[in-house]
């Protein structure tokens, strides 16, 4: 080693001692990460608004469609089919380990809100469709699976989970769902986390009885109780998170308020994404996705508020029931065979997907979607690897 090289080594060693200590680094990094996430959210909202404006312009242009153009009913306030998009569900937090032993996180969209529920892990059972694609892991902004451990989001056959007894109407649950009581032998409400970009007005996580206040992610939070339909009141916790989301958690009273607050604090502010069960080539113009789970997607028509039920909505689901067992007349849906019949005020189209699976599209007649449009819409529905069929 030359003398200059030795001088360099001595120099660098000596000057390295002048480096700052950086005792505040972790705080600064976290703050910076939160600021960037907020900017990203703001940017996404801006893009969404621009797209909404462009969509509105396109919608206005379609209000007077040319001769022969496919269109849906006038009372739907929309016209024709427009290009569809993925219905992936993005949740703004990476969930921690299950707060209740034996449960697994499942990410869904309920009434337009990303919802994370810890449901009982399903018992191993023979797969009715051996060649079915495996459940995909959710993907986050990172290149690797953010949940590559025991907290992997479940792709179970359980469909739209029970969200909140004060909002959900059990009588309106549509096909592809199971009784939550069957999903949870312990008959306790699952731990549910909901994120919303604006304060909710229906108060699903506003405690009827306030227990105490606490702090989550540096923000004030309220812990209290709300009645449960199944037994003792649920514990609820809600706060306005520094990430820009309003977050609410409900949990059975078996999870202590201390445990609930601890669980909330462990929600890492890193988004995760659960792929949807279908890709849509096209959707009726003006219809908005408001419920997504591993087997079902619902679209609400224009002018209808988001809700967790299926009433008056366009519903797409995948089931293990073969299509041939249903009544109706045969129709061709693209190159697939299907059956179309009307039950009451709902047109129901079933399409044989093979493997013992069938695709079901329900369209209430009051949506006035013409049959050609319905068939065209169903033709553009593609089951993804993320789908898990509901059992009947």
């Amino acid at each position: 080693m030359s003398e200059v090289e030795q001088q360099l080594r001595d120099l660098l060693t000596r000057y390295a001692q002048d480096a700052p200590d950086g005792h505040w680094m972790l705080t600064q990094v976290r703050r910076s990460a939160v600021r960037r996430r907020r900017r990203a959210i703001t940017g996404s909202v801006a893009v969404t608004l621009v797209l909404a404006v462009l969509g509105a312009v396109a919608l206005a242009a379609r209000l007077a469609p040319p001769e022969g153009k496919l269109s849906v009913g006038r009372d739907a306030g929309a016209g024709g089919l427009v290009a569809g998009s993925p219905v992936d569900v993005t949740f703004p937090f990476t969930p921690p380990a299950p707060p209740v032993p034996g449960s697994r996180p499942q990410l869904t969209l309920v009434a337009g809100r990303p919802t994370l529920q810890y449901l009982p892990a399903p018992d191993p059972a023979p797969d009715p469709a051996p060649d079915a694609a495996p459940d995909p892991a959710p993907t986050g902004s990172a290149s690797a699976d953010p949940l590559a451990d025991t907290s992997t989001i479940a792709g179970s056959a359980t469909a739209v989970p029970k969200v909140d007894p004060t909002v959900a109407d059990p009588g309106t649950v549509g096909p592809g769902t199971v009784d939550p009581d069957e999903a949870d032998p312990a008959r306790t409400d699952p731990v549910t986390v909901v994120a919303c970009i604006s304060p909710w007005t229906d108060g699903p996580f506003t405690p009827l009885v306030t227990d105490r206040t606490t702090t989550v992610h540096g923000s004030p939070a309220v812990i209290g109780e709300r009645p449960s339909t199944d037994g003792p009141p649920d514990h609820v916790l809600s706060w306005s998170d520094p990430s820009g989301f309003w977050v609410g958690i409900s949990a059975p009273e078996t999870l202590s308020t201390v445990g609930l607050a601890q669980f909330a604090s462990e929600l890492a502010a890193q988004p995760i994404t659960q792929p949807g069960p279908f890709d849509f080539d096209s959707v009726p113009a003006g219809f908005v996705v408001d419920n997504v789970n591993s087997s079902t997607v619902t679209f609400r028509p224009p002018g209808i508020a988001p809700s967790p039920d299926f009433v008056g909505k366009l519903v797409v689901s995948v089931d293990v029931e073969p299509s041939g067992t249903q009544d109706g007349r045969p129709v061709m849906v693209g190159d697939r065979s299907g059956w179309l019949h009307t039950a009451g005020d709902v047109a129901m189209l079933r399409v044989d997907e093979g493997k013992g699976w069938s695709l079901t599209v329900q369209a209430p007649t009051r949506l006035r979607i013409p049959e050609p449009d319905l068939l065209r819409f169903a033709t553009g529905v593609h089951i993804t690897a993320a789908a898990t069929p509901a059992r009947g």
């Binding site: 030359s2 003398e3 200059v4 090289e5 001088q7 360099l8 080594r9 001595d10 120099l11 660098l12 060693t13 000596r14 000057y15 390295a16 001692q17 002048d18 480096a19 700052p20 200590d21 950086g22 005792h23 680094m25 972790l26 600064q28 990094v29 976290r30 910076s32 990460a33 960037r36 990476t94 986050g140 902004s141 990172a142 290149s143 690797a144 699976d145 953010p146 590559a148 890193q270």
Partner: protein
Amino acid sequence: MDFAEFVMARTPALLRFGYLLTGDGHLAEDLIQEALVRVHRRWSGIEYQGGPEPYVRKAILHQYLSWRRRRASTELPVAELAEPPDPGPGVERIVERDEMWTLLATLPRAQRAVIVLRYYEDLADADIALLLGCTQATVRVHAFRALKRLRVALTPTAVAGAGHVRG
């Protein structure tokens, strides 16, 4: 090791590394903070891939090389070094090293990165090449040119004191 534990444990070392790269305490803090924010977003993916430290070091270097390139347009180049002070007895060595520290600031960023990685981190050329995403030959070229530039720029007194040097 989760992200917070890593930052708490490794920040001092990372800051020393950043300080030697940038030559400025505030810039070093900005550099490390920026790199850690970027790493934080994909932490769960990298912590199982041979430990996070190499990934973080690489992120710092990448940030340094691209970041310095952007900042270069706002910085004024140093046309000439300041007149070296008159070295008094016993302080020649210190003055010489301080002058070398000033000279380091005039090196292209890639050359300075190689110097820091080779003479402070004690990394082999193969490891440096992996971190910088280049070949070992490129590393050797950077090192050769940096050393040559330092030798030429050092004051005659220092060069004379160093005797003849080998590349």
